[in-house]
Amino acid sequence: MTPYKYIRNCWYVAGLSHEFEHRKLTGHRIAGKPIVIWRTEKGKFVAFDDRCAHKRFPLSQGRLMDDGTLECAYHGLRYNDKGRCVAIPSQPDSPIPKRAQITPLPIIEQDGLVWIWAGDKDKSKSSKPPRIPEILDDEWETIDSGPMHVPSNYLLLIENLLDITHFYPLHDGNIGDVDNSYIPIEYEEGEIDGNKYVKTTRKVEDYKQPPFLKDWFVYDIIDRHHTHCMMSPGLTRVVMRVAPPGELGTDKERGYVLLHTHTPIDDSNHIWRWCVNCKKDHMSGGDPKVSVAKRIVTMFPDVVEEDRWALEKQQEMIEFPDEGYSELFLKPDKALRRVRQIFLQMLREEQT
């Protein structure tokens, strides 16, 4: 069985809070489901299966009326924020059929992220969206990439994030080098809020920062703690902490919390959002007038483009039949193998 599918029973990020204007309909394709999301006038999030009860027309193409109801663009059926149809223009005097109803989806706005459950509603309490303290915390400056479409299965992005021995050669010269590949990896797995997590920790001393990292985090030679944690199939949290040798934990420390959300569209496509969080008062080395977060945002897209290329190429190769081919395990793949096993277990549970 291949793990390169998508898990339906999982919370996924539909966007950051700021992406959703009040009273604006947005259409999404998440875990094989068409979804319409909007934020009511009072700020509450609602989400439904995007198909009008009548003829499947995508409701996200419709409009929100002044009274807050959603009108389908095709025959004008109107729905309230509970999903009940409240008006059918072609038959104003008849009772509204019981089945004139659109299916609500569980949706939670939490910590600056909007999480949606596209799977079995009954299972939506089996886990909670992972907690992320930095986005809403004023001490951190947060800048995000917005949605990026990637023509690959989302597990490939998770695998990329959990094995950074790809920094050489993929990111050689910007955020990586071959010395990064020699750093020993500590490995941890567990479960929080119903989400199995897999985490790698890389600690190194007296490491010479590659060019981009030096530009962002000022110092030439540093001690570094670098962790990558898949907190759930929907989100991976990366934390980099650097300081001059011996000074981690002091106010000389620099670094970021880099959040990656990976929301599957279908088996071979996903939406990637990255979101960088840096302490507000940290200024970059490359331009001391510019904060680290802003500096990162001008330079990180080049790195992201390298990863995106790799994911696209990998997806192309996965689509060939194995015919005797099996991937070779190298030590840094331990975290990836465990993630694949978690995915296979979750996929299997959904089949029964």
Partner: protein, 324 residues
């Protein structure tokens, strides 16, 4: 050139017998009908059928360019299985022996930049023909030859000129392990493009295998003259054991001729695998109790302390508890 057929047997005549060193005797064999013998490549061996039903393999130690003769060198091992004793005591010049055509499991690599040859005792025989070929083609090589004493060292007449050119080094330990060649030091830092070839008695083979553990894949070549010594207490024989699946508490018998995954799948469990050959780690499973007998080729000691590849692993303890 028609490739030799190793099943073909033919008759040879013992043309000469020479004592090369203490307990080492060379037998020069020629075609009983006087023609060319089947060609061979350096590192090859032939089966020799000795009377009383012994069949023993001996490496050819002369130059592959010689088509008129095979040379084998036999160490007299009175405590051995009897083949060498029979050759030393019962075979004379002029005798006819039945031999197989040559076969080679210990070939020189064409595109090596450098060849590093290690010989222990009578293990020098295939190495001798390798050196003939390497000299012929002008390849870069060096040979380290370990024996007990100079008197027990064969082929001195062929090797001393090479030693004078810095191609061969002799080590005599006199039976004292502390005077042995430091194989770890010799094999510590392989230069790119170097291939290693070694042959010798069991202890020598273990030491070389261990010292060459870190060499790049495909660069290490060896030939055993006797069945491999038991390595680090690991038995190569399959023993039955039991596996407990911790989620259900069910215990399964794993017979000697079945793998863990075969039994568990037969019992209806779903196990993900891909290569089923110990290298992809798709089946990597945490174990909670017991001591696995790891049979994979990719996990290191740190990972083996926690995980096992169940497509191929067995167990040293009667019970292995898997986190399944």
């Amino acid at each position: 050139m028609t490739p030799a057929n190793p099943k073909t047997l033919f008759k040879v005549r013992v043309h000469s017998i020479t004592d090369l060193a203490e307990d080492i005797r060379a037998f020069e064999l020629v075609d009983s009908k006087g023609g060319d013998l089947a060609a061979f490549t350096a590192g090859a061996h032939i089966d020799v059928h000795i009377d009383d039903g012994f069949v023993r393999q001996f490496s050819l130690c002369n130059s592959p360019r010689e088509r008129h003769r095979y040379e084998i060198a036999v160490l007299n091992e009175p405590g051995g299985r009897g083949g060498s004793l029979a050759l030393h005591e019962k075979v004379s010049e002029g005798d006819i022996l039945t031999v197989s055509e040559p076969r080679n499991h210990f070939r020189l690599v064409d595109d090596a930049d450098r060849h590093l040859l290690l010989a222990g005792g009578i293990g020098v025989t295939p190495i001798m023909s390798m050196m003939e070929t390497l000299e012929t083609i002008g390849a870069d090589y060096v040979m380290h030859y370990c024996t007990r004493t100079p008197l027990r060292t064969a082929f001195m007449d062929r090797l001393i000129p090479l030693a004078e050119r810095g191609k061969v080094f002799f080590y005599h330990d006199g039976g004292d392990p502390s005077r042995r060649l430091d194989i770890d030091a010799i094999l510590d830092n392989p230069a790119t493009g170097t291939h290693l070839y070694y042959c010798g008695p069991p202890g020598f083979m273990s030491a070389a295998a261990s010292a060459a553990d870190h060499w790049p894949e495909g660069t290490v070549h060896f030939e055993y003259f006797s069945p491999p010594e038991k390595d680090r207490d690991e038995s190569l024989e399959n023993k039955p054991f039991q596996v407990k699946v911790v989620s259900t508490g069910d215990v399964f018998d794993i017979p000697a001729d079945e793998t863990i995954i075969e039994v568990l799948r037969g019992a209806g469990l779903t196990i993900d695998t891909s290569c089923e050959d110990g290298y992809c780690a798709t089946c990597m499973t945490r174990y909670l109790e017991g001591e696995p007998e790891h049979r994979d080729s990719v996990l290191d000691d740190e990972d083996r302390a926690e995980f096992v590849l169940i497509c191929c692993a067995r167990s040293r303890t009667p019970l292995l508890v898997l986190d399944l």
